[in-house]
């Protein structure tokens, strides 16, 4: 083995390729020599060709290929003729429920069998071999480097990069705006965020000609106090055209009809800004449904513990304390929508949210009350 460690001192001699007596293997070995490859070990897998063991292996590999073809055929047949169209709820007895599993099984088996065939061929029939090749790692020869250096120096010289500093500077000054021009069209994507993060569908001035926005359910029905039983809650939307769609993504509100005792606690805890506008109506409170963490809907209402939980990152908000965060990654309370009931007995928003709902951003207007817990 040690002979191979310093193969550099032990290089095989080149052979004369014009020698007509050279065997194919000797010509081949000359090729290896030219690529700095040496054979350490090379022997046929089966010393005597045509033995029973070899024949057996051939039969196995051949069989694998043929079975692979069989399953591929089955795949094509099933793909074309097996009933596949979805026809509503089905049980396992209906053939169409087996369509995808049959495709997977047949194609998968076909590929796997062919794979095992090729691998068996490589591992059991190819000659056993071990070769060693020189790496020639670590850069070019000093000669090559010198020549390359001289070539590049010549290039620099020819272009006069050193003698003509003005040209170099001018080219850079010209290219910089050109690069800017190349990316400038991406500016078409830019849009002034404007009030999109601060104003919601409850804003009467913007969306309802100054009239307070009424409250509706998802199907458009206007919400009256008697529609929510004590302890119950529903998700409500601004009663605008498309008010319940994604066109008003920060508007959805959770309307909760608190039990009298809970409402009393909440009134005692209410932030001054909400007291000032009398944000509750009776025992009803409306919290923004958009989590102040990263904006998932805080959908889970635990009536017993009076908590709202956001299922995305498990922020929890205390319903009887301004929906202030009490656990998880959220830092700010869910803004309260100031509620009232109009002459038709329908809930309305007295105004838009007093603080922007949803996730925070750097220039979000914040009020000192928010730091209260």
């Amino acid at each position: 083995m040690s002979a191979h460690n310093d193969s550099a001192h032990n290089e095989p001699e080149p052979v004369d390729l014009s020698d007509p007596k050279l065997s194919r293997f000797e010509v081949y070995k000359e090729g290896l020599r030219r690529d700095d490859i040496e054979i350490i070990h090379y022997e046929p897998r089966f010393a005597k060709p045509g033995t029973k063991a070899e024949k057996r292996m051939e039969r196995i590999v051949g069989g694998l290929f043929l079975f692979s073809g069989l399953f591929a055929t089955l795949f094509v047949v099933a793909y074309i003729w097996w009933p596949w169209e979805y026809e509503g709820a089905a049980t396992w007895r209906d053939p169409q429920t087996w369509y995808t599993p049959i495709l997977g099984t047949t194609l998968g088996l076909s590929l796997l069998l062919f794979a095992v065939g090729v691998l068996t061929w490589a591992k059991k029939l190819l000659p056993v071999e071990e070769l060693v090749q020189d790496r020639h790692d670590g850069g070019s020869s000093p000669e090559d480097r010198r020549i390359a250096e001289a070539t590049v120096d010549g290039l620099v010289e020819d272009m006069g990069l050193k003698r003509r500093p003005f040209l170099v500077k001018a080219a850079l000054l010209g290219a910089a705006p050109l690069g800017l021009a190349a990316v400038a069209p991406l500016g078409a994507l830019l849009k002034d965020p404007g009030d999109m993060l601060t104003v919601t569908g409850w804003n009467a001035e913007k969306y309802n000609d100054g009239d307070p926005v009424q409250v509706m359910m998802r199907d458009g029905a206007l919400v009256r106090p008697d529609m929510v039983s004590v302890g119950g809650q529903i998700t409500v939307y601004p009663a605008l055209d498309h008010g319940a769609t994604n066109q008003f993504p920060t508007s959805p509100v959770l309307l909760i009809h608190l039990r009298a005792a809970d409402a009393e606690i909440l009134r005692g805890n209410l932030y001054p800004m909400y007291q000032d506008v009398d944000a509750l109506w009776g025992n009803f409170v409306a919290y923004s449904k958009i989590c102040t963490h990263v904006g998932c809907p805080t959908s889970l209402y635990e009536q017993q513990s009076q908590r709202l939980l956001c299922p995305c990152h498990q922020s929890q908000f205390n319903v009887v304390d301004n929906a202030a965060p009490i656990f998880g990654p959220a830092t700010r309370h869910l803004p309260i929508l100031p509620l009232d009931v109009d002459d038709d007995g329908v809930f309305i928003a007295k105004s838009d949210f007093l603080v922007p709902p949803g996730p925070a951003f750097w220039n979000r207007p914040s009020l000192p009350e928010e730091d209260e817990k």
Binding site: T51, L107, Q133, K191, P297, P311, P329, D371
Partner: protein
């Protein structure tokens, strides 16, 4: 029939001649055919990613024939009864049609998704192999960096891919991304408006991420993969230490036929596994989630696994928001999401340079290291692995809490404490294990193998007979140097206790026929 004089013209030689006349191929082709590749199972992990990627291109092209990346509102009127009459985007409707009304469409969708998961998983495991064996060291730092970029481009390619169907789950994912984007100081709101064409979710984001998903990122991936594989080829693969193996050679077998046949077989194998999974295991049943609505979400909303650690970090990070009222807010989510992701990109990119700086090792390395021989690096790597695993588990902490009846808040606190404490413990434990393994290697080299044979000397002392691995001196010690490779630790690793016969049903040891080619390799050394 007349034979041409002095040649042995087969059709192949003739075709080769014609090609060589035109392209001068004989020399380069020989170099290619004879190139020597080292062999080890762990060198094939990256290939899984490569083969999955090919399948992703194929299945993705099929999906693109039927998917419509449009957020125009339509009323669903397709085959799936529970959603009939529901308002939804064209994107979601066409994704449903792909699943229900395109022949084999569901199969292709599931193949595309499973192949993605395999693609990302194999990149991660491949990256661990490269890291723990020191294969990223000079001269291969560039390829390590390209690999890191491949992961991150694949990360966003995958995220955008599962966001395309515009179902309830994917919309939730986009919402979270929007919340993260908003949190970036100064540019957040503008960046969000640019991504979504105004207010989230808008009507343009699907077509934007569609062109990125089917054109821009695949192109970048293809280019990076080409350079990645090309560099492995040009710089020649690393190899494990062993007899005859040095920093200046490659020991293995030839590219043709051996290496290529194994590669083709392996590729078909990977495809077969993905194909079977695509048919047998359901993934991402978008029809159950409904169209995306900002006010609707269900519990157990998890991203794909490669995004989960980030989601976990977001869940764990405490509610620390920095505020200067009323001018400035730095949201808490900025730290795990933006800073966390930034570090996850940056740290691995610069790690090879950092290690060079600290070890002052400026040499070229073509021989791999066993993880135990570089305890500091191995322990650092285990720190990251543990950190990542806690992140992933925390990304699904609601599911764990529900399935195992654990308090959700306890899960969160366990994650918060664990992600700080456990990596440190992992570092210490890994370090000790590495040292212990090193010591045991030296011990076996010096004292020999434990044979399990107990003897009693005339003084009544019991001792175990050791099988020396080298020529022992008068104390029974051998002066064997550690070669950076597996030291046999058991008697049957050096040929003892071998079965006398091979074969399960009948003997396949037929020496008269196979001329002894079925050698027992283990007898010579611990490996081959």
């Amino acid at each position: 029939m007349k034979r041409r004089k002095g040649t042995s013209d087969s059709l192949l030689t003739k075709a080769g001649g014609e090609l060589d006349d035109r392209f001068k191929l004989a020399g380069p082709a020989r170099v290619l055919l004879n190139k020597v590749f080292p062999d080890h199972w762990s060198f094939l992990l990256g290939e899984i990613a490569l083969f999955s990627f090919i399948l992703l291109l194929l299945s993705g092209t099929f999906l693109a024939l039927f998917f419509e990346p449009s957020m125009v509102e339509v009323t669903y009127n397709g085959a799936y009864v529970p959603l009939q009459g529901v308002e939804m985007s064209k994107a979601y409707a066409s994704a449903l049609d792909l699943s229900f009304e395109v022949r084999g469409g569901l199969f292709m969708r599931q193949m595309h998704h499973w192949a993605t998961l395999l693609f990302m998983a194999s990149i991660l495991v491949h990256m661990l192999r490269i890291f723990f064996t020191g294969a990223f060291r000079a001269p291969r730092e560039t390829n390590w960096m390209i690999g890191i970029l491949l992961f991150w481009v694949g990360f966003f390619e995958g995220f955008f891919g599962y966001s395309l169907p515009d179902d309830g789950l994917s919309g939730t994912g986009l919402r979270i991304m929007e919340g993260m984007t908003e949190s970036v100081p100064f540019i957040g709101p503008w960046a969000s408006a640019a991504l979504f064409g105004g207010q989230f979710p808008g009507t343009s984001v699907i077509s934007m991420i569609y062109i990125i998903h089917v054109f821009v990122f695949p192109l970048i991936l293809l280019a990076l993969i080409t350079v990645h594989v090309g560099l492995v080829f040009a710089q020649k693969h690393t190899q494990w230490p062993g007899p005859g193996r040095t920093e200046h050679n490659v020991v293995g077998f030839r590219m043709f036929p051996n290496y290529v046949m194994k590669q083709v077989g392996f590729m078909l194998f990977i495809w077969g596994v993905i194909g079977a999974m695509a048919g047998l295991f359901q993934i991402n049943p978008i029809w159950l989630f409904g169209p995306y609505e900002v006010s609707v979400v269900s519990s157990a909303s998890q991203p794909d696994f490669y995004v989960m650690y980030l989601d976990g970090l977001i869940r764990l990070f405490p509610a620390w928001e920095f505020r200067v009222p009323p001018y400035f807010t730095l949201p808490a989510v900025f730290w795990p999401a933006i800073a966390g992701m930034g570090l996850s990109v940056l740290l691995p990119l610069v790690y090879p340079a950092l290690e060079r700086r600290f070890t002052k090792d400026r040499g070229h390395h073509n021989l791999l290291q066993r993880p135990r021989d570089v305890p500091a690096r191995t322990s650092l790597g285990m720190m990251v692995v543990v950190f990542w695993i806690i992140g992933v588990i925390s990304g699904g902490n609601d599911v764990f809490a529900q399935k195992f009846h654990i308090s959700l808040n306890a899960m969160t606190w366990a994650g918060r404490i664990g992600i700080v404490v456990l990596p440190i413990i992992a570092y210490y434990v890994t370090y000790r294990i590495c040292l212990g393994l090193q010591q045991h290697d030296r011990e076996v080299l010096a004292h020999g193998l434990e044979t399990g044979i107990l003897m009693r000397d005339p003084n009544g002392r019991f001792y175990e007979v050791h099988q020396p691995l080298g020529e022992p001196d008068e104390h029974g010690h051998s002066e064997l140097e550690y070669g950076g490779w597996v030291v046999p630790k058991k008697m049957n690793r050096v040929g003892a206790l071998e079965p006398t016969d091979k074969g399960f049903f009948k003997s396949i040891e037929e020496p008269s026929e196979n001329g002894g080619a079925e050698r027992r390799d283990e007898i010579e050394s611990g490996h081959k």
